[in-house]
Amino acid sequence: MSEIIKDLKYSNDHEWIRLDGDHASIGITDHAQDSLGEIVFVELPKVGDVLEKSSIFGAVESTKSVSDLYTPVAGTVTEVNASVENEPELINSSPYREGWMIKISPTNVADIETLLSSEEYKNLIDG
């Protein structure tokens, strides 16, 4: 069973987003990392990059395949997790914590509310 964290919001593209004050951290879900298999490479944007909603902000790669990462809500990148760039397997072992990918300053914090709740995301992956 894939872990789903209750207080997070989710995208249809299997990213999670956690709002913390003015900043929001973004990563991929346990379900997503499990489907990909062992992640061996991650490509992330730079601090200061402006991301449009639904635009591609990076990519995760397992040995077998490449998956694009989609921006769940618009914003400006404020921090990039260098640890996952050096140790991409953190995304497998701790997708919701150490495996976070970027932090953004959302253009409109209220956009986050329009994303899926944990219940809705559970229905998506069980469906």
Binding site: E38, F41, T63
Partner: protein
């Protein structure tokens, strides 16, 4: 979607599945890298029942194979196998295959999953002048590949009466124990009674065997093998692909196709130009003297993983594209094969465009390991 007889067993083993040429196949079980490394150091088993089997039988079987196959066939002894191509008149590859000589009148061909119908129809359309029967046995045979440095000794322990060790590389034999145990259970015997074949061939670069056995009893045989060999790892198509790529083996659809000939893919050694005639010979002779493209191997210098389809550049000139690429589990770095313009084949430093950026790669010879 086709599934092999092992689908339900693999589902219970929590395999991840992938669609491959119309077949739903395990891509990995627990972990691709672990499966890959286990085959390199120990022994793994692959369900490759999606592969096709075609038999050519009759008084003209050898002449017919000689005319349709690029490689030499006349020197094969009973049980010997040879790799080569079925090419079209332009020299493009309809399929790359291993042909096993079962006896003077019968040749057994192992065909790629996506090409079975094509090959079968093409062979038939060229057979009018020959006294041969061409049989598609794909639905009869399942196929298991047991690969790795421990494969020979372990299979020998499992089948002590079959003199496994005497099956030389690139030869095929019958597996007597399976015949004794399972023949009476078959509702449909193979038309030629060769129900249980074992060949010392593979696609991983490691020693090992490929078993051609009836789909009807594939479940029981599979369980017998994974239950009988200690620490054998069930492996998916993911590691099959990374294992073959590390060894620089071509994959039809990537390095070879009806549009890509064996000369470009540096596989001329599997063409016997001394034969009087074979389909595609004239075109291949021209290509061998004058081909504009060539296959190269490369490793990433910058961070990144090359993938099939990415473009290859030299000083802003687009010179080719990646045919296969992956993150090598043995080397822990990105490796790839690509087809480039021959004019650039001496240039060491080239770039591969990954998403929006060009990344440095360096030319290396393959096999990579």
């Amino acid at each position: 979607m086709n599934e092999t007889p092992l689908f339900e067993i693999h589902k219970k083993m929590n395999a991840k599945f992938v669609n491959f040429n119309g077949w739903i196949m395990p891509v990995w079980f627990k972990d691709l890298k672990q499966e890959h490394l286990h085959v390199r150091s120990s022994v793994g088993i692959f369900d490759v029942s999606h592969m096709g089997e075609i038999e050519i039988e009759g008084a003209d079987a050898e002449n017919f194979v000689n005319f349709t196959f690029t490689n030499k066939i006349s020197d094969l002894k009973k049980g010997q196998a040879r790799y080569g191509f079925f090419c079209n008149n332009e020299g493009g590859v309809i399929d790359d295959v291993i042909i096993y000589k079962l006896n003077d009148l019968r040749f057994f061909v192992c065909v790629n999953a996506g090409n079975v119908e094509n090959v079968f129809n093409w062979l038939n359309s060229n057979s009018d002048a020959y006294e041969v029967a061409i049989k598609n046995l794909t639905s009869f045979y399942g196929q298991l590949a047991i690969q790795g440095p421990r494969a020979v000794e372990e299979v020998a322990k499992l089948f002590p009466n079959s003199q496994i060790q005497s099956i030389k590389k690139y030869t095929i034999s019958t597996l007597n124990e399976l015949d004794v145990e399972f023949k009476s259970k078959l509702n449909h015997s193979c038309p030629n009674e060769d129900n249980f074949l074992i060949a010392r061939t593979g696609y991983t670069g490691e020693d090992g065997f490929e078993l051609f056995v009836p789909n009807e009893v594939l479940n029981e045989i599979y369980l017998k093998i994974i239950g009988g060999i200690v620490n054998i790892e069930p492996c998916g198509l993911g590691s099959r692909d990374t294992l073959r790529l590390e060894k620089g083996f071509p994959l039809h659809g990537n390095e070879l196709s009806e549009k890509l000939n064996p000369i470009v893919a540096n596989l001329e050694r599997f063409i016997d130009f001394s034969k009087a005639d074979f389909i595609g010979k004239v075109s291949l002779e021209v290509l061998s003297k004058n081909s504009d493209f060539t296959l190269i191997g490369f490793k990433m210098t910058d961070k990144g993983i090359p993938r099939a389809g990415y473009k290859i550049f030299s000083n802003n000139n687009e010179i080719g594209y990646v045919t296969s690429g992956t993150f090598s589990p043995s080397l822990n770095e990105g490796i790839g094969l690509g087809i480039i313009k021959k004019d650039f084949s001496e240039i060491e430093d080239i770039e591969v465009k990954i998403r929006n950026d060009k990344k440095k790669v360096k030319r290396v010879s393959y096999p990579f390991v």
